[in-house]
């Protein structure tokens, strides 16, 4: 019975007492870093330590959307590089990630908002991305079921359309990177939380786990919602807050929606899976949380906005509902790079924007760890930018993480 001939996706090696590089966090970003360390730099003396299990965290809890429609060059550059990599990864990993570039539609609800979207579209074009502003019949043709005619509190004025945006099977991303890294000889340990980061004379020398101590030259922290707790093991305070983000899946129906659509008066994003389910997500619950338990106010909010776009959704039932702990920084953008302790680097603060950037972060962090120098694409995302006044604030929302 069952799939007896299916081998385990990752090996279960004996833990050695020493590795060159330790990656704390076996999420998409950590595993992508492991993969690119092996592939691009031939470095396989690496241990990935995951406190829980592969595919149990935010990598498999998001709404699977990938896109690169960001205004600021730093934000756009990294995510657009990721889009290019997503297109290559099913082949490279020999794992079907089901990348479907069905197009991403970002709805504007006033002429002023559409003007601002046009600025963003132009910035993206300057960066080499293909993007259009759609209005009227062109938008209706792109999203035939979108309700553009009913009297609405927030009518649709138009949309930014990015054809390369779309969806990817998110758990396959975790498994695909894990399998490839494992095949390359990198050791991945599940249920292995780091309990201590040992530092001597401002230099990392080892980490402690329940299975013993691992001596290492460098440590890379990539643990999303647990960033503050893990960084505190090294005595560091981070400008990061953990928030709860919810997602929902309806019962499956026939194909009715090709693109990914985002409603901006409030926040509600929706796509239809290949199986026919609608996947919905929204803004964070709006306050610090590690509970992985959402508030009803946000559920109502996301669904009400989805109905504004697609009234027929009112007849569907929700099958599943879940949430994850996302870490968001004081300017809503990630912190990536070296920390003020020698041999210690971090990737955190992605909020609910991290999944789409997974391969780009892995690619760039692998380069940093291999060469001990920060590559250009991640240079702006420094840990010390808050002290220096060099925030990357796409939303202009200031130091209130739950507003981003």
């Amino acid at each position: 019975m069952g799939n007896k001939r299916w081998p385990a996706i990752i090996a279960t090696p004996e833990m050695r007492s020493s590795y060159d590089t330790v990656i704390i966090g076996g999420g998409g970003h950590g595993l992508a870093t492991a993969h690119y360390l092996a592939k691009n730099h031939g470095i396989t003396d690496v241990a990935v330590l995951e406190g829980s299990w592969i595919g149990g965290g935010n990598t498999a809890r998001n709404t699977t959307i990938v896109r690169s429609d960001y205004l600021l060059n730093a934000s756009f550059g990294l995510k657009n590089f990721a889009l290019k990599l997503w297109g290559e990864l099913s082949q490279e990993l020999n794992f079907n990630l089901m990348y479907e570039p069905r197009g991403y539609v970002d709805l504007a609800h006033s002429d002023g908002e559409l003007e601002h979207f046009t600025i963003r579209a132009n910035a993206m074009r300057l960066g080499g991305a293909s993007v259009e502003i759609l209005t009227g019949q062109a938008l209706q043709d792109c999203v035939p079921e979108l309700d553009l005619n009913s009297a609405a509190r927030f009518p649709v004025a138009g949309a930014l359309f990015q054809p390369a945006g779309g969806v990817i099977r998110h758990d396959a991303v975790a498994w695909g990177f894990a399998r490839k890294a494992s095949q390359a000889g990198i050791h991945i340990f599940q249920k292995t939380p780091v309990t201590k980061i040992n530092i001597t004379k401002d230099k990392v020398n080892s980490v402690d786990t329940p299975q013993g101590r691992i001596n290492c030259r460098q440590v890379f922290i990539s643990v999303a919602g647990a960033s503050n707790q893990v960084a505190s093991l090294a005595g560091l305070d981070l400008p990061i807050h953990s928030i709860n983000v919810q997602a929902f899946v309806t019962e499956p129906v026939k194909p009715a929606l090709k693109t990914v659509v985002n409603y901006n008066a409030g926040l509600s994003y929706i796509s239809q899976t290949a199986k026919g389910e609608f996947v919905l997500g929204g803004a964070s619950d709006g306050y610090n949380s590690f509970a992985r338990r959402g508030s009803f106010a946000r559920i109502e909010d996301v669904l009400a906005r989805a109905l504004q776009m697609f009234p027929f959704l009112s007849r569907l039932r929700l099958m599943r509902h879940w949430s994850g702990t996302a870490d968001i920084s004081m300017d809503g953008n990630a912190i990536i790079g070296q920390l003020p302790i020698d041999g210690l680097s971090i990737n955190c603060g992605w909020g609910y924007a991290g999944f789409k950037a997974t391969p780009a972060v892995g690619h760039q962090m692998a380069e940093l760890l291999a060469n001990n120098a920060t590559p250009d694409l991640i240079k702006p995302f420094t840990y010390d930018r808050f002290a220096n006044g060099a925030e990357i604030d796409d939303a202009g929302a200031g130091p209130y993480p739950w507003h981003h």
């Binding site: 647990a226 503050n228 707790q229 505190s232 305070d237 981070l238 400008p239 990061i240 807050h241 953990s242 709006g286 306050y287 610090n288 949380s289 590690f290 509970a291 338990r293 508030s295 009803f296 106010a297 004081m330 808050f386 002290a387 130091p399 209130y400 993480p401 739950w402």
Partner: protein
């Protein structure tokens, strides 16, 4: 859904409030930022990090935080909420500002 007890209005739904984040203790407002490096560091610490070691800004556990009761008395309310399970274990008096 949180039920926040406002010292002026009684137990009220979370939707009446806006979140203000961790309770912060602000540095000296009159400090000359141009002349003292420590004043800059203090403001950075308070604004972006944990304003006091006793109340880290993003704990997995009890957090002393403030909420603005815009849908009620229009005062800031200080509570202690456990971020692991959203239980509100302690309620203190509201404070102005």
């Amino acid at each position: 859904m949180l039920l926040i007890t406002c010292p002026h209005c009684g137990p009220r739904d979370e939707s009446e409030f806006s979140y203000g984040g961790a309770r912060r203790i602000w540095p000296d407002h009159d400090a000359n930022l141009d002349q003292t490096e420590t004043a800059m560091q203090d403001w950075h610490q308070t604004l972006y990090l944990s304003s006091t070691p006793s109340n880290p800004s993003n704990p997995s556990g009890p957090l002393t935080e403030i909420w603005y009761h815009g849908g009620g008395c229009e005062c800031w309310v200080e509570i202690i909420r456990n971020t692991k399970d959203h239980s509100i274990s302690n309620r203190q008096k509201g404070h102005a500002s």
